[in-house]
């Protein structure tokens, strides 16, 4: 089942002369984990915002093409209506805290209050997502007084509570330390296991290579490639496109193995280990 369908999407911000997105077309299946990579200003964030309706409803500007999320054409629905089907988590955890609630628990319920969810269901959903994202023990704390990783998980929990079918994360770990990053990836993977479609913009390519089913490679507002991680990260033009090659592939390339397995190099530590053992034997000497 197709969750996201984009056809011929082009977009220009107001007061800007260049297209931020140019003729984007793609489809995403239910339950997939899609990574988006590309250098800065390549249109990754704009694409995310187009999916939740912030583009064009919030920014206005020139919009052409069609974006359909969970059967809803974003043009015909308000951002609030789309929020029930698709959620967006931003880069800075700090700026996503509403600021009007005094506890983590109330903060999660904020979106549910807006949507007019009945009180018993609100409590049930809030408790569930707090446990799912492992922040239940923080429920009575002030949302501004928890760590960055916890705050970002709170931001994710607040979105997950709305029960969207698709969740987009726009560089959710860029301001987090390795521990916070791992916390976020583990949480996202759990959401994927629940059948939620995940779209994530991320610069940490090793992580993305390990978790994502497919990767969208963007440059200058266009989609350059949309394929399995092993194919995307084996491309020789990644550096030119401003994307880092995962460290494992770099290692295998320097061993000359990329010629032997064109387009099929492993992208995780475990698989890399197996391949190296297979090629060179398990001889420690």
């Amino acid at each position: 089942m197709k969750k996201v369908i984009i056809e011929g999407l082009s977009y220009k911000y107001p007061l800007s002369s260049r297209l931020a997105l140019e003729d984007i077309s793609l489809t995403i299946e239910k339950g997939e984990f899609i990574g988006i990579v590309g250098k800065n200003l390549s249109g990754k964030t704009t694409l995310c915002q187009a999916l939740v309706g912030l583009v064009p409803h919030f920014y206005h500007g020139g919009f052409r093409g069609k974006v359909e999320v969970a059967g809803m054409n974003t043009m015909n629905y308000s951002i609030a209506q789309l929020a029930e089907k698709i959620g967006l988590v931003f880069q800075n955890p700090f700026n996503q805290i509403s600021g009007s609630k005094l506890t983590v628990y109330e903060e999660v319920a904020f979106g549910l209050e807006n949507l007019g969810i009945s009180r018993p269901e609100m409590i049930e959903r809030t408790e569930n997502v707090l446990k799912l994202l492992d922040i239940y023990h923080l429920k009575d704390r002030n949302p501004f007084e928890i760590s960055g990783g916890q705050m970002q998980r709170l931001a994710i929990a607040s979105i997950v509570a709305l029960k969207p079918e698709v969740i987009i994360l726009d560089e959710p770990t860029s301001q987090l330390d390795p521990q916070g990053t791992n916390e976020v990836f583990r949480a996202v993977n759990q959401l994927k296991e629940q059948g939620i479609t995940i779209i994530m913009v991320e610069h940490k390519v090793e992580k993305l290579a390990a978790y994502a089913d497919k990767i969208i490679l963007m440059s200058e507002g266009k989609i350059v490639d949309y394929d399995r991680p092993s194919n995307i990260f084996a491309r020789s033009d990644l550096k030119k496109l401003g994307v880092k090659t995962p460290i494992f592939i770099q290692a295998l390339q320097s061993l000359g193995l990329d010629k032997k397995y064109p387009g099929g190099l492993p992208v995780t530590l475990e698989d890399t280990y197996k391949l190296v053992v297979k090629e060179y034997g398990n001889d420690q000497n």
């Binding site: 915002q49 939740v52 912030l54 919030f58 308000s78 951002i79 609030a80 209506q81 929020a83 029930e84 959620g87 967006l88 931003f90 800075n92 700090f94 700026n95 996503q96 509403s98 600021g99 009007s100 609630k101 005094l102 628990y105 109330e106 319920a109 904020f110 979106g111 549910l112 209050e113 807006n114 949507l115 007019g116 969810i117 009945s118 009180r119 609100m122 409590i123 809030t126 002030n142 501004f144 007084e145 931001a155 607040s158 979105i159 709305l162």
Partner: protein
């Protein structure tokens, strides 16, 4: 966390009383001394308000609020005592200034009403959680946007002052003078403004996006996480407040 609200977080019968009852108490008992300009009534209102504050264990917190206004009260006594039009009977003379009894009595009535007003508002300020207060107003038709602005200001202003401190420290570590006489300290705030204003604008923009995707602008009827509990005591209390209000209006109309 630093807070700009004067709310004292305690558990007391006054704190547990629902915000609406407290608002109506404050409004009504602020007004009664003006409706019935008798000192005895003002004293009863003041006594009642003070005993409520005592019940809420926040009575010591009104001392700074009242002492803050002592200067104003002092000027009332000074001006009325010297120049009230009805002045006739000399009360006392000091430093060649003659104070009159009528003026001083008038000033006393005025001051009592003023102190009563301060104490009444203290019931809301000291013993009502701001978020509860705002929520109870939103339930009764206050625009949720306005409610959001009020409650977020209470949290975001302290956050901004944290940001200010961070920027100030950063400037200091690069050798900017921030301590010294008033002029030096005032000058230190100029290079602070641009980063502070810029970062606040950026976070305001980000926050409005985050609110949008959490359906802040949904057109549906909102629900609330916390239940509004109106106890039997609160109902009796509300009735008594209403009764006092009506009787003082009746008294006034009969005059």
């Amino acid at each position: 966390m630093k807070s700009i609200s004067l709310y004292v977080d305690l558990d007391s019968p006054l704190h547990r009383l629902d915000p609406l009852t407290k608002i109506s108490y404050t409004l009504v008992f602020m007004l009664i001394p003006f409706l019935i300009p008798l000192k005895s009534i003002t004293l009863i209102c003041l006594g009642l308000t003070l005993s409520l504050l005592w019940l809420g264990r926040v009575i010591k917190h009104i001392v700074p609020i009242i002492s803050f206004s002592l200067f104003l009260l002092f000027t009332i006594f000074l001006i009325q005592g010297l120049f009230h039009p009805a002045n006739e009977k000399v009360a006392f003379s000091i430093l060649g200034l003659t104070f009159y009894q009528e003026g001083l009595e008038y000033a006393l009535g005025l001051s009592l009403r003023f102190i009563n007003l301060l104490c009444c508002t203290s019931i809301i300020i000291l013993a009502t959680k701001p978020s509860d207060l705002i929520q109870s107003l939103v339930r009764r038709g206050l625009s949720p946007r306005f409610g959001y602005v009020m409650s977020s200001v209470l949290q975001i202003i302290p956050q901004m002052s944290n940001t200010t401190q961070v920027i100030l420290d950063a400037q200091k570590s690069r050798g900017m003078e921030t301590e010294g006489n008033l002029f030096v300290r005032a000058k230190a705030y100029i290079p602070l403004l641009a980063p502070l204003v810029m970062s606040s604008l950026v976070s305001a923009n980000d926050r409005s996006l985050a609110l949008e995707v959490r359906a802040f602008n949904a057109q549906r009827k909102r629900t609330f996480l916390s239940e509004e509990k109106v106890t039997f005591t609160a109902l009796i209390f509300r009735f008594l407040i209403f009764f006092s209000f009506i009787s003082s209006i009746v008294w006034r109309l009969k005059q």
